[in-house]
């Protein structure tokens, strides 16, 4: 089983405190990994390190074997653009999507009928949903999701969970942070920042 991402001896020091040390793990196809930890434990920092966005205070090595998609705290949705434009001109440079694919993805996140509304007229939850629509378009095998359930309603959470399971089942991997436990009938590996990946 080829791994999609390897982390070797990760350590992180922030503000003079060791957040974690000698954290090593491997994430392979089919894995659904949830990062555990209290507020301030360094979950977001770890995700940013895994994505390659952050190096400050960091030691160790991250080896990425596959393209990844990272969804952070900020939705990266432009208020002056419509949801359709936001996806078509997305700055991640990941893919070129046909208008049909984009409309389909927006319909799946419940934004049917909102395709051409300026995004600043949408609610916070709808903003998140525009961002989540990228998951339906993504062809990246590895997803790094920071609190993907924030501001999403119950139905949306269930759909998102199903999507994550489908992604993992198809031989890809998901690493996410979340304060709520996933209610999925799929093995979720828990990654503790102090003790590492539980089997």
């Amino acid at each position: 089983m080829a791994s999609l991402l390897e982390a070797v001896d990760l350590g992180l020091v922030r503000g003079g405190r060791d957040l974690f040390q000698q954290l090593s793990f491997e994430v392979g196809p089919g894995q659904l990994v949830q990062i555990e930890g209290v507020n301030g434990a360094g979950k977001t920092s770890l995700l940013r390190i895994l994505a390659g966005l952050s190096r400050y205070g960091f030691s160790g090595r991250v080896i990425r074997h596959a393209p990844l998609m990272y969804l952070g705290h900020h939705s990266a949705v432009k208020g002056m653009l419509t949801p359709r434009e936001n996806l078509a001109w997305h700055i991640s440079g990941e893919g070129s999507y046909s208008p049909g694919e984009i409309d389909d993805a927006l319909a799946r996140v419940g934004l049917y009928g909102y395709e051409d509304v300026p995004s600043h007229a949408l609610s916070a939850g709808q903003h998140r949903r525009v961002n989540l629509a990228r998951l339906y378009l993504s062809r990246a095998p590895l997803w790094l999701l920071d609190e993907p359930f924030t501001a999403i309603d119950k139905g949306g959470v269930a759909e998102l969970e199903a999507l994550l399971v489908r992604h993992a089942t198809a031989g890809n991997a998901v690493i996410l942070t979340s304060h709520q436990s996933l209610s999925v009938s799929y093995p979720v590996a828990m990654l503790d920042l102090l003790t590492g990946l539980a089997a």
């Binding site: 990844l68 990272y70 900020h74 432009k78 001109w89 700055i91 440079g93 893919g95 070129s96």
Partner: protein, 227 residues
């Protein structure tokens, strides 16, 4: 399929231009600023046409430089605040070209427009008509350099809540050579001499800035996003 590098650049260019056109105030303000500062000089220096015409090349160039400085801070700020910049840095596309597309989009709605309307202001200050084509051309070349250098300052300060004053202190020294050769070109023509040497140096500065500034901007963005 990830788009090709050039397709991605044209996507960024289009995105930035649409964003700019949906906020026409941001495009109009630098032009209005230009007009108002031009109007200040006859009030401050006295309305003697000969004196104003003598100072006109320097005045026009300094205002263009300040107008550019005012807009530099906005280049990456919005995208930093809403998380778009993280996505850009993670993209599999060459950052050099993406950053170049950003600056090109910004130049099209600031420097280019400023250069195009500059004849109007030149006439207000009584600059001789023969110097106007060189004024426009020098502003076209020079403002592109200013946008690229300003991009470095914008990328370095984008992580700070209030980067305004710092960005001015950081990049004004690098604006100076552009000002020197830009206004000298216009002065030369107004004095009946040839400006091609000055314009050639401005062109060389532009080549230099296109080659190196995107690298500096990319590196600065990585630092800013890490903080």
């Amino acid at each position: 399929m990830a788009p090709g590098a050039l397709a991605f650049c044209s996507r960024i260019l289009r995105r930035q231009l649409v964003l700019a056109l949906r906020r026409p105030v941001d495009i109009g303000n630098p032009l209005l600023f230009f007009a108002m500062v031009v109007a200040l000089f006859p009030l401050g220096l006295g309305p003697a046409p000969a004196a104003l015409a003598g100072f006109a090349p320097g005045i026009l160039w300094i205002i263009a430089l300040l107008a550019n400085l005012l807009t530099a801070d906005n280049l990456f700020r919005g995208d930093f605040e809403d998380g778009s910049l993280e996505q850009l840095l993670l993209s599999p596309q060459p950052l050099y070209l993406s950053v170049l597309a950003y600056t090109l989009a910004q130049w099209l709605v600031t420097g280019l427009l400023l250069a195009l309307v500059s004849p109007l202001f030149a006439v207000m200050l009584g600059l001789s008509a023969s110097a106007i084509p060189v004024l426009m051309f020098s502003l076209l070349l020079g403002s592109a350099v200013l946008s690229l250098v300003g991009g470095i300052g914008a990328a370095l300060t984008v992580g700070l809540k209030r980067g305004g004053m710092l960005i001015a202190l950081l990049i004004l020294p690098f604006y100076m050579p552009v000002l020197i050769f830009g206004s000298a070109a216009v002065q030369a023509v107004a004095g009946g001499m040839d400006a091609s040497a000055h314009l050639a140096i401005l062109g060389a500065m532009l080549c230099f800035a296109i080659a190196l500034a995107p690298l500096a901007i990319g590196a600065a963005l990585r630092i800013s996003i890490d903080a």
